[in-house]
Symmetry: C2
Subunit: 270 residues, 2 copies
């Protein structure tokens, strides 16, 4: 297996997003058939691990997916979790904050949907929107941005200290790849429902967003909750890399079924 | 395909649960291999239909699963939704009400988790616990029970009138089958975590629960939200019948992708 290390954002605050090629495919090896088979195997393994997480009923897993429009957040959820029972997996899509949400601090709506014991929660976008959009739109100044980075780190530390494994993935595509994907959505009747004109306005600020991502990732990749940048021009690579990262992270948790209860030995149901 | 009609509870208030054999297997035809294959096909079809529900983004689906302990609610979710993306499916497990929940009317916690536009929600137990447990435990009188039946019907009518397809399944097993399954949980170390001593106390009230189910189903099987009784001694039959009922119900909705937007024709992304 390839190494995650080159794609893990250092916690020393230094990080250059441009040094990672969105076209990299280190985790997609072998023929197309082999890759498809491998993804199915990983999805089945993930289901088994998630089932054990549920049975153990003690710890929690939070997967944070961030990325520009069309970077493949929905697709990742569809393919990586294609064999996982919805019993213990839940997706939270973060949209533009509602009036009620805006009336609270930016972590309020997030805290309400952190995973509970035995749960695996997937955040489709996240609290990071609040250090990306307002930075690009210049709605908050540098001091406030720094303060939010710290608030995010504190919040995530709380989650980790209370039994949550936090896995953060930034789906990294090139501007050219986004252009192709947006064009495909526009031109394909069956995909048009995924397109919004607002996506084009955001696309015009591509460079500002890349900078905002770079700074946010550098400031919030901690030992307890590191960021991984996922080269995502290849959808297969994106799926395989995230599936492998998840399987490895869940294996590292050494999840155990609750031990047998000696008191139940010999109990007969009538 | 077999007919659902004999298993659909009439809305005329007359219904005898004992007339339905939990060992029936009308929806499980052919060899074991064929049945396994058929379930996979149905699960994949369900994923496609759910994806269209999500894309349409307008209507909602609520699947209510009720049944005695070990009747297979978790197993149904695991196998029927084995190929469905968690993007648009969510499971709500209803446990013993918390103090906060008990401080509100019994539909309060339910209303909070009804499906939103484009969502398929699975209720693992439901508001029906509140016309089963308190009836068996004699915590509410006949008048209050009747009032709750009506409140349930009114609540479900609201959901149906606002775009929700409500599918209610009672997983029907025999007392002997439950005995076998509870014993298996006790005797199998890997399954013990699913067993609770409280299950034995509830089992002692088997007959009272069957009567409470019969009355509740008779009173709340309406034209807008009918009950289906699922013979569930055979797990394969249970899965196949529920998968077919779901696929049929979602097909009946005639879900459509949003139409192509003529204004997007010729739009070029730069």
């Amino acid at each position: 297996m390839a190494s995650f290390k080159p794609y893990r954002v250092s916690s020393n605050g230094k990080f250059k997003l441009s040094k990672i090629d969105p076209g990299d495919i280190p985790f997609a090896q072998g023929s197309e058939d082999q890759q498809r088979e491998q993804l199915t195997e990983l999805a089945i393994e993930l289901d088994k691990l998630q089932n054990r997480l549920h049975a153990e009923g003690r710890r929690k897993v939070l997967l944070v997916l961030q990325g520009m429009d069309t970077s493949g957040k929905d697709g990742t959820i569809r393919w990586v979790f294609s064999r996982t029972s919805p019993l213990g997996v839940r997706v939270i899509p973060f949209k533009v904050p509602s009036e009620l949400e805006r009336a609270h601090d930016f972590l309020w709506r997030c805290h309400a949907v952190v995973p509970g014991s035995g749960q695996l929660m997937i955040w489709n976008r996240s609290h990071y929107e609040d250090v990306l959009v307002p930075v690009v739109e210049e709605l908050i100044d540098k001091k406030e941005t720094q303060r939010r980075y710290r608030q995010i780190n504190d919040f995530e530390r709380l989650l980790v200290e209370t039994g949550t494994t936090v896995i953060k993935c930034m789906l990294h595509i090139s501007s050219e790849e986004q252009r192709t994907r947006l064009q495909e959505r526009i031109d394909t009747p069956g995909k048009q429902w995924k397109f919004s004109r607002g996506d084009l306005a955001v696309r015009l600020k591509w460079d500002a967003y890349q900078t905002a991502y770079e700074k946010a990732l550098a400031a919030t990749s901690t030992e307890h909750a590191p960021w991984h940048v996922i080269p995502a021009n290849s959808k297969t690579h994106r799926n395989l890399m995230i599936a492998q990262l998840l399987v490895r992270s869940l294996k590292d948790m050494k999840l155990q079924l609750p031990p047998a209860d000696p008191a139940l030995e010999g109990l007969v149901v009538t």
